[in-house]
């Protein structure tokens, strides 16, 4: 028999405090992993935010959306338009992106949530594909089609001109009241938003609202007969997660003011699903962890090339070395997607509960081995709270 005592507010503060320290200290502790450069850390923060938001929908309510990349795209386009019209300050861009993606999510959620299970997944997929196709075709005046939307020197940028910062030499970079949002400041800017997003996620997980969302996943029938109208709850969760996605999309443009439709493709939606389940759907820290692992591996694997492989395997005898390199070559560089697909399968087959659950199983097994069986041995690990 397992027990799950509720986490105390003090425990949560400690946990969130630790999380904050770990995130802010990333430039230090990522150094030994060779990942402490700003571009990559920005990606960790942005995709972490995306996955944390997705988890509020999928992890809590169990509704598997295959269309969340659409909200990422809407956020990106909105942000770039805000840069073009208002100026390079990221704050209005982020706010507008959150509002726009929230409105868009409300509309899609309103329709898709009329169905559950696989029908819901296919409806969201259909909407995302529609958005993607439209972004490439009719909406070209807004999205600039295949080329992608970017900020030009000739754009109005009303606020910039008002502030007398309209004329810029060289490439346009977003700046927060004079501070350029690239490099390390760019990372810290994203990190602050990640922390805000994580804090909100903490609150939702512990709240009555979060409890209702979990109840939707477990037993909708009972919830209905308990006097709860389930759809508005699911709808709210859908909009919230859409807003997270929009925020992440806007942050992508803050660090690199270019928005392309490929961001909305359904493989991108699949990627956020993978991040979430890899870390552990329904856990607080899992999605961030999953996003980190995916983006880190992407970075490592894509960076390798034949040359690097030959150097690594140079110690092997020639014939074997050539064979090993040609096999390994399939999985690196361009072959990163192959690795991603395999990772996807392996995780779902062997670790559907994600890394967090895997860690708990191991620690439970260790406890049992040590003979710490004072009645508290757990046979079925609880999701980390």
């Amino acid at each position: 028999m397992t027990t799950n005592t509720r986490e105390t507010p003090q425990g949560d503060m400690v946990r969130f405090g630790l999380f904050t320290v770990v995130i802010l200290a990333m430039p230090i502790w990522l150094m030994p992993f060779g990942a402490a450069y700003p571009d990559l850390m920005q990606k960790f923060a942005i995709y972490g935010l995306f996955a944390i938001g997705f988890n509020i929908l999928f992890g809590l309510t169990g509704y598997l959306s295959f269309g969340h990349a659409a909200f990422l795209g809407v956020g990106s386009y909105t942000a770039v338009w805000s840069f073009k019209l208002l100026g390079m300050n990221p704050i209005p861009a982020l706010l507008l992106a959150v509002v726009m993606s929230g409105a868009f999510a409300w509309l899609i959620g309103f329709i898709s949530l009329r169905r559950t299970g696989i029908y819901f997944s296919i409806l969201t997929l259909a909407f995302a594909q529609m958005s993607y196709n439209l972004a490439y075709s009719v909406l070209t005046p807004i999205t600039n089609g295949e080329t992608g939307l970017r900020v030009l020197n000739s754009d109005p940028r009303v606020l910039d001109h008002m502030m007398g910062a309209g004329e810029v030499d060289g490439p346009l970079v977003t700046n927060l009241f004079g501070m350029e949002m690239s490099g390390l400041p760019g990372f810290y800017f994203c990190a602050v938003w990640l922390l805000i997003g994580m804090y909100i996620s903490f609150r939702i997980f512990r709240s009555p609202f979060g409890l209702m969302l979990r109840a939707i996943k477990t037993n909708q029938t009972r919830l209905n007969y308990t006097g709860i109208s389930t759809r508005p709850y699911a709808q709210t969760a859908f909009v919230i997660s859409g807003m997270y996605a929009g925020l992440a999309g806007a942050l992508l443009c803050v660090t690199d003011p270019l928005a392309g439709a490929e961001r909305m493709q359904w493989t991108a939606s699949g990627e956020v699903v993978l991040m979430t389940i890899l870390g552990g759907a329904g856990t607080l820290l899992g999605p961030m962890l999953g996003a980190g692992i995916i983006k880190y591996s992407e970075n490592i694997f894509s960076a390798f090339n034949e040359q690097a492989l030959h150097e690594i395997f140079a110690f092997l005898p020639d014939g074997i070395e050539a064979a090993v390199v040609s096999v390994a070559g399939l999985f690196v560089g361009e072959g990163w997607h192959l690795t991603l697909g395999l990772l996807f399968m392996l995780i779902v087959i062997f670790l559907p509960g994600g890394v967090i659950e895997g860690g708990q199983r191991i620690s439970a097994a260790v406890t049992r081995l040590r003979g710490g069986g004072s009645g508290g041995s757990s046979t079925q690990p609880q999701p980390a709270e």
Binding site: Y119, F127, M130, I277, H337, L340, G341, F344, M345
Partner: protein, 342 residues
């Protein structure tokens, strides 16, 4: 009138492809209860069977002709496919008909792939939640398409139909129109007939054989069939193989219409899922009807007259129809009660 007829015809070949893929998807879903996101990859693998066969029988022998010299003074290279030098005219014929010939190779290959997929992966997911089935087959689809990409490259590889079928048929004349009004490429016509034949074959197989009877019974009520003491597992494998062959053949024959590339499977999968949902999850006639219906609708939406009124409609028509159908008729056109409702 002739414009409408032409659009219907234009939709038939694409509709045929949708119907064939959706048929297999439904078969697998109905009997095995598995949502297979890797089904599009089977279509793609079929198409690459055709590519491989073509490359294989097109292997060239290079000889040097010492009597003929290029302006640089080197001998002229004479390239000739081995098959032509061995079989002469028959070789030429085989090369010309490489796409239809590929069917012979594709059937065993697809059965094998289907068996490996079902025994190696899918069978472990019968009892797992649909979300996990979706995710694991999604991963498999990525893996398969990436393997094809490394092997065949990222660019589309155009395949040509046999010379005799390269032209277009003036089929308007047959039904009383003036010549030149309804002209339809032979190969598309063949594709439609081929898909109709395969669909008919699958239905006949399900209606007329004992095996088919068990499969149909399994689609109606899986538990009961299991209780009757029928070894349903073995049949599942065969059903999966059948679905793989149908998807593969759809892919083989589609290559002259759409040059195959590694992501064609994904492109068709999303659409085919929409087709299945519109037709009604678990309904075979529904899948076929919805396949053709959506194919034809799509070709109507691509008419310039329609596009000028509703710009971009050709890009989204299928999804739009799916959304409307799902909201108005949750079970799809021919769906049964109790399938995937939760």
């Amino acid at each position: 009138m002739d414009a409408i007829l032409l659009q219907i015809l234009n939709g038939l070949d694409k509709g045929g492809a949708y119907a064939l893929i959706a048929l297999g998807l439904t078969l697998v879903f109905g009997t095995l209860g598995v949502v297979n996101f890797a089904h599009g990859a089977l279509f793609m693998l079929g198409a690459f069977c055709a590519v491989s066969v073509n490359q294989f029988i097109g292997l060239e022998q290079v000889r040097l002709d010492p009597d003929n010299l290029t302006p640089w003074g080197t001998p002229v290279e004479i390239r000739e496919p081995y098959i032509v030098s061995w079989l002469g005219d028959t070789g030429h014929l085989l090369l010309d008909y490489s796409v239809p010939v590929s069917i012979l190779a594709a059937i065993p290959v697809m059965i094998l792939i289907g068996f490996i997929m079902e025994r190696g992966l899918i069978q472990f997911f019968y009892k797992r939640p649909h979300a996990e089935q979706i995710l694991v087959t999604f991963g498999l689809a990525i893996v398969l398409q990436e393997i094809i990409k490394t092997w065949f490259g990222a660019n589309p590889l155009p395949q040509s139909p046999p010379d005799a079928m390269r032209t277009a048929a003036d089929i308007g004349v047959l039904v009383g129109f003036d010549p030149g009004q309804i002209v339809y490429p032979y190969w598309r016509l063949i594709y439609f007939l081929f898909s109709a034949l395969v669909i008919g074959g699958v239905f006949a197989f399900l209606q007329l054989t004992t095996f088919g009877m068990v499969v149909r019974a399994g689609m109606a009520d899986r538990e009961t069939v299991g209780l009757l003491g029928i070894d349903i597992e073995k049949r599942f494998t065969l059903v999966f193989g059948l679905a793989a062959v149908v998807a593969g053949l759809a892919g083989v024959m589609y290559t002259p219409i759409l040059p195959p590339d590694y992501h064609m499977g994904m492109d068709f999968l999303v659409l085919s899922f929409v087709v299945v949902v519109v037709g009604g999850m678990g309904s075979l006639p529904g899948a076929v009807a919805a396949g053709f219906l959506l194919g034809i609708l799509q070709s109507f939406a691509s008419m310039t007259e329609v596009k000028s009124i509703l710009p971009g409609i050709d890009q989204i028509i299928i999804y739009l129809v799916a959304v409307v159908i799902l909201l108005v008729r949750p079970r799809g056109l021919m769906g049964r009660k109790g399938v995937m409702e939760g």
